[in-house]
Symmetry: C4
Subunit: 259 residues, 4 copies
């Protein structure tokens, strides 16, 4: 039985034994900036998967992969044990965000519970900040849940603009740092400026560079552009098919009332 | 009182005493391919109804049948005890799928619970794969939740196309094999290619033929086309009336705010 | 605290002591046919209010009446103790039906619970059957949850048309007789043919006449047309204002995101 | 973990020790009339914050304030201890109303619980009454949950118009006085006439003047127009950005299905 929000630990926190880990969130969102960065970290770092999250708030479907193998939509948390120069990490990535308003809150509750179970001391959520036009030289805007974070972030190159983004920060990237505030966990959202119209590896690169400074971490950024290209191609392909799908689904809905 | 998802056993699993049954799902969907096949099996095999499922996730209405007799919308599970040459079957058919996103998950949970209660060892979900144009020679595309199923399915004539359907498999046909995966039950989705625009007995025939091979089962396919014609006629008729209904319902909604 | 479905007994069933009562449902719906008839019965019969039903599934607002006095939207059940020539009655009337799909099921559950608490032996739900054009001579179409009801209803002038209404019976009028079926309570839906475009006292009169025959009850029908005229006027007035309201509400929604 | 409706007491009622307090509600709504008045009272009176309310029914996002500091959307209750000439007050203000229908009921339940915990004896909810055209000389329309309130309100300049607003009172301003009625707490809604198209300080002034008479309270109204101007500017700015945001969010939704 799948619960509304179904957190499944593959490893217990005490088994993984992270020391004051920093949580990184990069779920799908504007320009897929956050997802690009977090997926990249999972790929290039020596990580181990520790949690899978399933939910009734994800789209009611399965994903078909190579050879026709399917899997349930899910989010995942990976643990990274550092060599001591950078902090240990807990990286949250995944297929979807909630497709309902209330689901966003229920999922954010789950992410915070996981953070607390692993003893997380700081959280960085990653995202894009859409400006509605092409961005030649992306930079990173920050939002924080504690004043003490402003100076360190500025030193790492993060810009702060009064009351920006004015529309608030929607979804997991926002709610996680909001709930973290209520739980007394320092957290910031790092947003790469981007057009908002396409997958943006340049913006992701800007965010990754800031993040590396903040974490005192060095990873290759070679693949990032490669990954973005693939993502872009996949999205184009999927969109095309989704339009067909939507058409069929509509016709299915028409038929849905048949008996 | 009707529960959100209300599973009513007409016969207990131990009464029916199926041996390692295979579950077949054929609910309304694209081209009604799955429904055509599963309804057909229920009609031509010597089955007994074992479960009825009612739900708040079905449309809030009753169905009117011959002579003005009504009944609640429901899904049903039928048991087929084979003569030993083919496996015992548990066939899931019904009026509707969920009309809400979350409802799809709650209903799929129920279907899996029933499968487990009856000791199901394998599941085939049936559906259509809409391609957006007329299909002269339909064939069957497969998606599986276990690599071990690929070869046997290929032998029965099922095609596998990398990452197809790219938009995922929506609704019960997808979630059932997804949840089965989490429960360790082998399951596959068999999708007949179809336009997606109309009830498609030809596509259903293609799926039924594959299914018969997989189950080592022989049933007449005479009625299939007959049934599709009736379904098509009924759908046309119902659509016409539903448009009128929708119009009235809208006017009812307008009035709904009256006091 | 108001529960999702909040049933408040003003009198206990044993206080009212109805003998095998017949339940009549007439909530807002197509042509307001059912509401007209049930409201009329409450007015002309010597009834006592026994239950009030509040719900989160009604619109989130209060109703303003004469002199600026407000009240919560609600449904009500009235008891009628007959002189013995006709059966005792339990009459369900009210302001609204559910505004969500799931709410329809939760409210229908509540109505059935009340019916059972009062020992109801038969239920008539009332409604309109919209035909999409003006109806000069309305008649009454029936739908039943038990074959045994067909003959008595035919004798009272009810028509039965195979599989009509083909789109099913939506909302309380349908779900009540559907749930009653599962509870073993005989129930029928009586639908007066109507255009579906306006409040229809003529159709209501046709339904009331059939109902009087079925109940061996005689009530004045004078007020019915009068009441329909008032209702029509009120609806026109309210619609006008609702359009303004909707406009404001939209603008409120725009503002809703302001902080 | 944030509950669906999460009431957090900063001070216990017995600590604050209000004497028969009057509750004032002024949440976002038509013309922001109620919000303007209640926010103003919180600013000019010597108040202390006693409750914070978070909810899954608010938009799933955080608000970004000066210097990039974020906070969760919330409603707040402030206590005002008077010098004895006017009653003690409990003032409900906040960022949002519910964005779902059911949420309105759940939040209104919460507000009533708080009122009862603090021993509230009377409630005034504040709002705008949109008339769809510019209003030169706004006045205040009243709606009450008890006849005994009509005369005192009339004396304070409140108008009562039969059955107005005909569309009912939507949201917190309506449900609070409706639920108060069921709890036996006297309550009235004071609505300043306004166009419904913009933030309206003139209408707010009219409401504030009536409220001061009712409470025998004197506060400066200087800032009110100032505050309205700021609000108007902020709204314009936010709307502009929200349109961009909506655009991005849509594109995010498109991407949301990417994996």
């Amino acid at each position: 039985m799948l619960k509304r929000v179904d957190i499944r630990y593959l490893k217990k926190p005490e088994e993984v034994n992270l020391k004051d880990p920093v949580m990184i969130e990069g779920l799908p969102g504007i320009g897929h900036v956050g997802k690009l960065v977090a997926d990249h970290l999972v790929k290039v770092l020596d990580v181990v998967k520790v949690v899978e999250i399933y939910s009734h708030h994800f789209p009611p479907q399965v994903i078909v992969e190579k050879d026709g193998l399917i899997r349930m939509p899910k989010n995942e948390v990976y643990a990274y044990k550092s060599d001591g120069t950078s902090p240990d990490l807990l990286i949250l990535v995944g297929d979807y965000q909630s497709i309902s308003n209330e689901g966003h809150f229920e999922l954010a509750n789950a992410y915070l519970k996981i953070a607390k179970d692993f003893g997380v001391k700081r959280i960085y959520t990653l995202g894009g900040y859409g400006v509605g036009r092409l961005v030649e030289h992306p930079y990173v805007i920050g939002a924080v849940n504690s004043e003490s974070l402003i100076e360190p972030l500025k030193k790492a190159g993060v810009k702060f603009e009064d009351g920006e983004p004015a529309g608030g920060i929607i979804g997991a990237a926002g709610l996680i740092i909001g709930l973290a505030m209520l739980e007394g966990i320092e957290a910031a959202c790092l947003m790469g400026t981007t057009s908002g119209y396409m997958v943006d590896p340049k913006s992701a690169k800007a965010v990754l560079e800031v993040l590396m400074k903040l974490l005192n971490l060095k990873v290759s950024i070679e693949d990032l552009e490669e990954r973005a290209k693939e993502m872009e191609k996949l999205i184009a392909q999927i969109k095309e098919i989704q339009e067909a799908q939507a058409m069929q689904w509509r016709s299915e809905e028409d038929l849905g009332y048949f008996r």
